[in-house]
Symmetry: C2
Subunit: 340 residues, 2 copies
């Protein structure tokens, strides 16, 4: 079985986007507020909307995608905490419906109603709701300010109530920023990658997993700059008298394979232990198009992993085993389906 | 000849640091302002201060280091524009003296008196002074706000007067942030690397080198995350209907080799054309200490390049040829010395 741990709902039905427009327009002009949170999206519309993803699963040979709302759509810095809560619930509900309709193809991950300057503990009610709905994890934004980084680092106690709840519910968090309102940062080309790099460095500086040994973070996009600068990070940890990175972080921090060329994936497999690498493509996502150097889509990352000179047991870990270990709620979900 | 294009004066004599303390203390309490900008640092003190660097040059087999003030010391976000101008001149003057005393070992690169929210054109007087003193380039900070990124992207016309002057004077700019006053960003572990990645993405989005075909930027630390995500950047440029990265940027943008492990350097040599790679170590810099996996210093980057399976002509480019091409003022300086 091949599990892609990183897919976003980038083909949302138009009524969701129309709702969001009206909701944000309503901040400027209350007359424009949407009258209802009922979107009238039928099951047929939902199934139809994810046909592109299912077609690619089939074509590229993956089975199940861990599926969450559009990353740039979370936009925690836009609107108010209140509009964010409504928007989050609606976005998550659609994910829930897609995954309930197509459980062989998708497993749900949610967004959180984070807001800049607002304690992350305010997200707990939505997190509990998601757990009840069978979600296997959430996206956690280390910069709710959308490129201005005005909230405390991930190791700050500011975040602890949320971590406690994540552990209690056995939910996994992917560290994923959203869109950027800072003109310095292109969202997929700079902000996403910087977010990954920054989060990892924050974790090096702290001792978060001493306090939360059961907390699990997935850092997407191959960990940003981290594998390329693995020597730098090993050296900085050493200078800071931290344990070896393997002992300091790698029981709790994992990297996905959203790196869109073979040499990058090769480097990753060389420096990051195979137990910490999870297959992912972010397909229908950040980078579209065909690589003229290979004739294949940039984001067809399975091809790169297929080409690695790893044994089949190691590849099985990357494609399935690690995902089931790092997302225990997914493993449970899959086992329950099997015994039905 | 082996040229290291990235060294900072991280062993400054104490009187310089004492001056800076008094200068910044003077902002809070004018009584504490330093009485003079005369530091009373003798030539002997200067030579003594760079003995560690010279010892390492000898031990590791490099000849000349392109030498600039401590990167984190620039701190453009600290103090006022006025204190920054004084601080910049003093820092640059020390670099000038070191390089005049030890011209076989060091060639000067300056800092600029940038200040957040202040037009970069205000740096032109110092830039002209540096050119007259024989400096071969400058460090250009894409984020004078020290981690808050409140100034316009590098492609904005805000920067154009400075670029015009750089071209006129044939000066090369290394894109290098300074310290971070944002607790989210560790300076050498996140801010530096993010700065590199962000700058490159800004350049992809723009068309800066159509306006300035003679402008030359060196992006340090191996280009941040760029080589690791080379497929992502090729794909994003393609989506934006930009030319191939080679044509869009690589006549003007170069990467140094401050990547502190062999697999990183190997990746870099695989995806970045050899003409765009410049040897550098940032020694006595960002990452100190011995890598337990190799028994050698992390920042002894020459060892990694020596191990690459490149021909000697290509290695000569990385070690010398590219530096002389990308820093034409350095080439001229070296030729003039030879004919004396």
């Amino acid at each position: 079985m091949i599990i892609d741990v990183h897919g976003h709902y980038t083909t949302e039905p138009q009524p969701l986007l129309t709702f969001r427009d009206k909701q944000l327009a309503g901040l400027a002009d209350p007359m424009r507020r949407p009258q209802s949170t009922e979107l009238s999206i039928s099951d047929e519309m939902l199934v139809k909307s994810v046909e592109p993803q299912m077609k690619l699963q089939k074509a590229r040979g993956s089975d199940l995608t861990i599926f969450s709302p559009r990353a740039a759509g979370m936009a925690h810095h836009v609107g108010t905490e209140e509009t964010g809560i409504v928007w989050t619930r609606m976005s998550n509900d659609l994910i829930h419906r897609v995954c309930a309709l197509l459980p062989e193809n998708f497993a749900p991950v949610g967004q959180l109603p984070q807001h800049p300057g607002v304690p992350p503990k305010n997200c707990i009610p939505e997190l509990e709701r998601l757990a009840k709905l069978g979600f296997v994890g959430v996206n956690l934004n280390p910069d709710p300010a959308g490129g201005y980084w005005t909230d405390p680092p991930l190791t700050d106690r500011w975040w602890y109530p949320l971590y406690e709840k994540l552990c209690e519910l056995d939910m996994t968090a992917m560290i994923h920023v959203t869109s950027s309102c800072n003109p310095a940062f292109h969202y997929t080309g700079a902000h996403y990658i910087n977010g990954d790099t920054t989060a990892f460095m924050q974790l090096i500086q702290g001792d978060l997993f001493k306090d939360f040994p059961a907390l699990r973070f997935v850092i997407p996009h191959g960990g940003g700059a981290v594998p390329f600068h693995w020597g730098r990070y090993r050296g900085l940890a050493q200078e800071m008298k931290k344990p070896l990175l393997r002992d300091h972080l790698l029981d709790n921090v994992f990297f996905d394979t959203c790196v869109y060329h073979l040499p990058g994936i090769e480097l990753m497999a060389k420096v990051i232990p195979v137990d910490n690498i999870l297959f992912a493509s972010e397909m229908l996502g950040a980078v579209k198009g065909v690589d003229p150097e290979t004739g294949h889509n940039y984001d067809d990352t399975k091809r790169y992993i297929d080409q690695l000179s790893l044994g089949s047991a190691d590849k099985q870990k990357i494609f399935e085993g690690n995902a089931r270990r790092v997302y225990p709620r997914l493993d449970k979900r899959l086992k329950e389906r099997k015994t039905r």
